[in-house]
Amino acid sequence: MSPDNVPILRVNDLLKRFGGFHALDGLTFHVSSGEILGLVGPNGSGKTTAINVISGLYAPDRGEVLFDGTSVGGMASHKLVHRGINRTFQVPKPFMSLTVRQNLEVARTYGRAGASGPSMSDLLEEYRLADVADRPAHDLTNVQQKMLDLVRALATQPRLLLLDELAAGLNPTELDWIAERIKALAKGGLAIIVVEHLMGFIEQITDRVIVMNAGKEIFEGTLAVAVKVPEVIEVFLGGEHAA
């Protein structure tokens, strides 16, 4: 599968208001199976809101979300999960008093029906959770909780995966390791959207980035080009995240 396929997700002219504040203001983009798209921008530019709208936490005030050709804007989250959309959380919220294994069991049982994928033990092995599989989630380290969150999302057999600041808090070796995992997932045909502050990490894994500011897209293309565009530089100036 190649990035030139028909996009699996299209968002058109998304608008999301909180009171008088426009968190999303006419956002439009698309992503295809097998592609890794980066969403970058300063704090408050609307990246996480975009993920929250696509994953069903908020209904958009205007615009549409097309997944696999069907409009899914405002659909209940669990239905989106059944269609194949999933996500991780900036601050992971695993089911703290359940064991790691039980966390995954919920996702596998209630995730996308009829899909097949790697077995639970493979997933645990692959994301370095096998040793703690029978421990309750609140015993896990922060990084382990992040991995559990990711594995939980993967266990539902998604076709589109939204990663919200997965890399934050990981050390350089872990970063390299997780970058490889994400790339492998995309190779397997998964469409992935990454929201991230670490530009090096974005550069390492993405095919394409969208730079957002004030709820709008101000640039689309590769990161290497983006960092030379004056408008993008200006948005990040004073921001602490210029790579």
């Binding site: 994953s55 999960v81 959380f89 919220k93 089911f95 919920v106 996702a107 209630y110 995730g111």
Partner: protein, 306 residues
């Protein structure tokens, strides 16, 4: 042996057998009956609080609704008692359905709204304007259905149903999903769990058992006032018993009832003045030192408590 079967064989069945045999060796049947009622109510609280995290401070609303469902069937339709008990359960489920919007509320707001709802139902039923239907504040006296032996048997049967539900929740992916909802509802929905549907089912199941218990209670006591069957003591006892033993387990609420209701019956009558004090201190100590209940003494040591 699968866990489900083990839990039935080693927890539910022995308890039910003991309860079935006890009346022939111990004469205060009403005390036994009350134990059964509190087993049911504590497990009902377990279903909704232990598995989904909603603390039902007005749980007695379902119990009272069930009792009045029973009374209305007997008074107005002359229905046989077992049918009236089922009707009591049904009334509670209908009340539960009416109250489902409360599940949108989080934490303490839910508990307080639930308490308010129970009090509202009480004041509705006890209003003299409805005297021709509910007998208002004047209380009901049911003649013709009184039969303690069968009412006790009915209560044990309802306990069996309740234990069946709890064992199922403890061992099924449905129960696991409910606990996931309790831990974090958005994470649960991102695991594909239909949060609204799941917690509504748990809510109604919990309402059902309380309603059935109320119906069978009305059958046993036959003469009662609204204050009797809507007494906040039922909610509070059931919650404290369940928490004391430990929720989200099968044994916890049962242990809680046996110990605390046992103590209540032993010392509650001999040192009355100080009972409330001791009880209050016990509750405070529990929250401060054993917030996960007695069973956590075992689970802390790594033992698995069903």
């Amino acid at each position: 042996m699968p866990d489900t079967l083990r839990h039935y064989l080693f927890i539910a069945v022995p308890l039910l057998v003991v309860l079935a045999v006890l009346p022939s060796v111990y004469n205060n049947h009403l005390l036994l009956f009350n134990f059964v009622i509190f087993f049911i109510l504590a497990q009902g609280v377990n279903i909704i609080y232990g598995f989904t995290g909603y603390l039902p401070f007005g749980y007695v609303g379902f119990f009272g609704a069930g009792a009045y469902g029973f009374a209305l069937m007997v008074m107005h339709l002359n229905s046989p008692a077992p049918v009236a008990v089922l009707a009591g359960g049904l009334v509670a489920v209908v009340l539960g359905l009416i109250l489902t919007p409360l599940l949108r509320l989080a934490g303490a707001y839910f508990s307080i709204a639930n308490l308010a709802a129970a009090l509202a139902v009480l004041h509705l039923i006890a209003n003299p304007a409805l005297e021709s239907i509910t007998k208002g504040p004047y209380g009901v006296a049911l003649n013709g259905t009184f039969n303690p032996t069968w009412a006790y048997a009915g209560a044990v049967l309802i306990l069996a149903l309740t234990l069946g539900i709890v064992v199922y929740l403890k061992n099924s992916s449905f129960g696991l999903a409910l606990q996931a909802v309790r831990e974090d509802s958005f994470s649960a929905s991102m695991s594909g769990v239909n949060v609204v549907k799941m917690r509504t089912i748990a809510w109604l199941a919990s309402a059902l058992v309380a309603g059935l218990a109320g119906g069978v209670f009305a059958w046993y006591v036959s003469v009662f006032y609204p204050d009797n069957v809507f007494s906040a003591d039922f909610s509070i006892f059931a919650i404290v018993f369940a928490l004391f033993g430990g929720v989200a387990t099968i044994c916890g609420p049962l242990i809680g009832v046996i110990i605390l209701y046992g103590i209540y019956n032993l010392i509650g009558f001999t040192t009355p003045q100080y009972f409330q004090l001791i009880y209050g201190l016990l509750i405070m100590g529990l929250v401060l030192f054993l917030p996960a209940g007695l069973v956590s003494l075992a689970t802390r040591r790594g033992w698995n408590v069903p």
